[in-house]
Point group: C2
Chain length 196, copies 2
């Protein structure tokens, strides 16, 4: 398999993205593929589509939790479900993740925040998840959170969100490779998505 790179588009309020967040580091090691982590604010796109994937659909939500639980077990990823959902302040998590990607601690933050959300039940984007996740990775919360709410940080996140919309993205996680979209952690197993 040729080494290449795959864009990993994700939004911090997405439950299913947890599986990818936990898997990608190992997948990189095994395959030599480099994933470029690109947080965006999916909620804006969902609202434009008038699409609520789970929150107002109890049967679909119940299935979602069970499906995630089964797939986490399949990959030996710890999980404690259901987690708080929907996350009311997912925009804050996306802003911090976005700042972190530019500063070099983004992937570590995303992994810490997801662990706290889906293993410890701390809602992502809210306190104590935000500050504790930053502390977990050795980043001073006050400074990082101040950076996250600047106009520049918001503009950068919305620019990425516009980019995602232009690519045709409507869900998280979405993998983009060679101009092709693959939606869902389960599509990582599809031959084309990893370049053959």
């Amino acid at each position: 398999m040729a080494a290449g790179h795959i864009d990993f588009w994700f939004t911090m309020g997405s439950t299913y993205s947890y599986l990818s967040v936990m898997r990608l580091v190992q997948l990189e090691r095994l395959t030599g593929i480099r994933f470029r982590w690109r947080p965006f604010h999916l909620l804006v796109i969902l609202q434009e589509m008038k699409h609520v994937p789970f929150a107002d659909k109890p049967r679909k939500s119940a299935y979602m939790w069970r499906d995630i639980e089964r797939r986490a077990a399949m990959y030996d990823i710890p999980v404690s479900l259901p987690a708080p959902y929907p996350a009311q302040q997912s925009i804050m998590a996306n802003l911090v993740a976005s700042v972190g990607m530019r500063q070099g601690w983004g992937v570590a933050f995303v992994r810490a925040a997801y662990r706290r959300w889906l293993q410890l039940g701390q809602e992502t984007g809210s306190e104590p998840n935000l500050s504790e996740s930053l502390r977990d990775i050795g980043v001073e919360p006050q400074r990082a959170l101040a950076l996250a709410i600047t106009a520049e940080a918001k503009a950068a996140l919305m620019e990425e969100t516009d980019f995602a919309r232009d690519l045709g993205i409507f869900g998280s996680p979405t993998f983009v490779v060679g101009g092709e979209l693959f939606w869902g952690d389960d599509r990582l197993e599809e031959p084309d998505s990893l370049g053959g």
Copy 2:
């Protein structure tokens, strides 16, 4: 893997169900598992949920066709996309499938109708798809269609739809095995879903 049986819940208006419809016969042969084909009228449940999976979502629909195309290629299943969607009269296809399941020609009809829809572009549930699919499998269309619009046939389909709703089903295809739901053709590859 222990031989057992899996309920295959599907609705004829579902595009993704085409993949399962084309795969199950071979899967039965390879695994010894028996699939029980159970058509139901998903549209009723979607309307109760106020959920429109694709029809009013152009980006998601575009992705759906591409995803089906890639997965069909993966399984060597012929497909010609996009097909007419949404199918306006999917209830007729479900009623005929439901009558056919009781009379022993249901699986053959479903396969013929899907081939005509996703290979030849004939909208499922409408003419000429209905009559030609019946003729393809040697069933006299006039008699079968007359049976499909009886009050008994409608009641039987709605009874199955109620059963599906009670199981927590909200999409097609859904596989039910040992009380567990697996939504989506892609979940057939999940170890638990085939009992192995």
